[in-house]
């Protein structure tokens, strides 16, 4: 339904997008996942028409909309800071796009009521945006964006400003909304957990390029690159370690922390020698870090219960099941996430 063809964009000679191509199907929930500065917001703004690409084309339903004004695109945006009109009440905000299109008054009233009910804000129709909490503003912004039934809804880190509790709740609601409305969502976030929870498909962005696109399980279980492996589910990248699987020189292995086993030295334990460096609580589990004597690399294990006897400074064997090794392209040596 939406197709981006090798979009590039630079601001003041700084390249932000280096050829982004992406296809979004009707009714699909796709997430652009990446750290700040990777170009995800710029991509969204180009789809909305708020920014012009330097090269590349944007197609919506096979129609080239690259040069179409934002108001003529059947695409709406939920802005990061909500961008509610401060001089209009909730009702007027939500009905804005219908008034612009000169829809009949009675119909506007009905559709505003429906849209507010959809986001459970029908009791707040007469409030001003300044009188609402962050989560409520968020709902109003969503109602305002979906009321005109666009083909595509763009959401720019819509839950970024909310606390964790509310964020979890809104994730579920957004997912429900998307299913009820049948509109395609392009969702931006830097939170991998959010991306894994909500998306049909995830596109991991880095340095103005899509590094990998696939379903949540594809991205998690079969990352192409060490960057994706680390960014999604923070896998251990084990460079210079003998692997079971065959590898080319610019490849390395990644092992999820839940597959890393740490054992105290004993006669029947095997693995690579290492020293425990850190032990932290993470919910019902412990996260234990160890440094490999072989390469000095840090590995994290999250499969130990809180009763684990391991203590920092202790010598351990580090091991993992050969089946849990993932061969990835090594492309992010030492880069901060």
């Amino acid at each position: 339904m939406l197709r981006l063809e090798s979009i590039t964009k630079a601001f003041d000679n700084t390249k932000v997008l280096n050829g982004v191509s992406l296809t979004v199907g009707a009714g699909e929930f796709i997430t652009l996942l990446g750290s700040s500065g990777c170009g995800k917001t710029t991509t969204l703004r180009i789809i909305a028409g708020l920014e012009q690409p330097d090269s590349g084309r944007v197609f919506l339903d096979e129609r080239d909309i690259t040069d179409t004004e934002p108001n003529k695109r059947d695409v709406n945006t939920v802005f990061q800071n909500y961008a509610l009109f401060p001089h209009m009440n909730v009702e007027a905000n939500v009905g804005y796009s219908l008034r612009i299109r000169s829809v009949h008054k009675n119909e506007i009233k009905q559709r505003v009521t429906d849209a507010l009910r959809l986001v459970r804000m029908d009791e707040y129709a007469k409030r001003m945006p300044a009188e609402l909490s962050g989560g409520q503003r968020q709902r109003v912004a969503i109602a305002r964006a979906v009321i005109s039934r666009p083909k595509l809804l763009l959401l720019d880190e819509p839950l970024g400003a909310l606390d964790l509790q509310l964020r979890r709740q809104m994730q579920l609601e957004l997912k429900r909304l998307q299913r009820e409305l049948g509109i395609a969502f392009i969702y931006i976030t830097h939170d991998q957990e959010e991306a894994l929870n909500m998306s049909d498909r995830i596109a991991v962005m880095r340095g103005g390029l899509l590094e990998q696109t696939g379903s949540a399980s594809e991205i998690y279980d079969a990352p192409y690159t060490s960057y994706v492996a680390r960014f999604v589910g923070s896998a251990n990248i084990l460079r210079g370690v003998p692997a079971v699987s065959p590898m080319t020189p610019n490849e390395t292995i990644a092992v999820r922390s839940e597959n890393i086993v740490l054992e105290p030295y004993s006669e029947h334990s095997r693995g690579l020698e290492g020293v425990v460096t850190d032990k932290r609580f993470a919910g019902g589990m412990l996260r234990i870090s160890a440094r490999l004597n072989l390469s000095g690399a840090e590995v994290v294990s999250s499969r130990h219960g809180i009763d684990s006897p391991l203590t920092p400074g202790q010598n351990v064997y580090v091991s993992w099941d050969a089946a849990s090794e993932i061969i990835v392209k090594d492309n992010d040596a030492g880069e901060e996430l």
Binding site: A48, G49, L50, E69, P70, N71, V75, N76, T77, F79, N81, A83, F85, P86, H87, Y96, S97, I100, R101, R144, A145, S148
Partner: protein, 287 residues
Amino acid sequence: MKAIKRDKRAAIAAVLPMYIFTVAFIAGPLIYMLVMSFLVRDESWGITNELTLRNYLHILEPVYLETFKQSLRLAFITTLFTVLAGYPAGYFMAKLPPVWRGRCMMLLIIPFWTSSLMRMYGWIIVFRANGSLDSILMALGITDKPLKLLYTYPAVAVGMIYALLPFMIYSVYASAEKMDWELVEAARDLGASRFRAFLTVSLPLTMPGLYSGIVLTFIPSMGLYFIADILGGNKVVLVGNLIQEQLMRVHDWPFAAALSVILMILTTLFLFFYRKLSHSDKLEGLV
């Protein structure tokens, strides 16, 4: 207890000078003027203690009503043109990159380094018969003889607009600069054309600036008598000129006082409507 008492005394001592200042220099003269407007002028000089309403009845004479009418009309024209020229200027200035905003602000401020009186004399050179304006128009073949614009109503209007335009630009700018431009993007995203987005979002949100700009131009334009003096000669007489003339030449102080009271009532009414319309007690960019 003692400490509280001392604090209280200190607080009174701190605000007392302000009260004295206000009473002595603002409330006092106002009351003096109000009282004087009901008194009778003495034959030769000063005032007598006799009470009368004659000064106010005097204002109802056609000559003076005409003066008020002319002043109000000029104030409206001045305000209208400062809005038309100043609103876009202030609005687009706020959209410039910060460096250019600073430069524009400098351009607005620089004229104030020279006395406004001097700058008004500058306009004489422009407007006088065969002055710069005439020379340019005739050289371009637009007119074939001097327009003789000096000492006309339009010349005074131009002078007023010129003198008050910076205030309008500044107050609109102050409003527009604070505005969140993402709101305009949101409006465009929701289907509004550039113009619709301006009408429904930018304009309402910069209204406070526009309102204070109007107050800042309308009220002074009723009183800037020296502009009418310099560019209007004796042909354009405004309330300000009338008051000055009654005070300095005719020495009819009570009548001048009555004229001032009416002028003040008019401005107060205007401010009242301003507050009604803008739902605000503040003057944007001033407070």
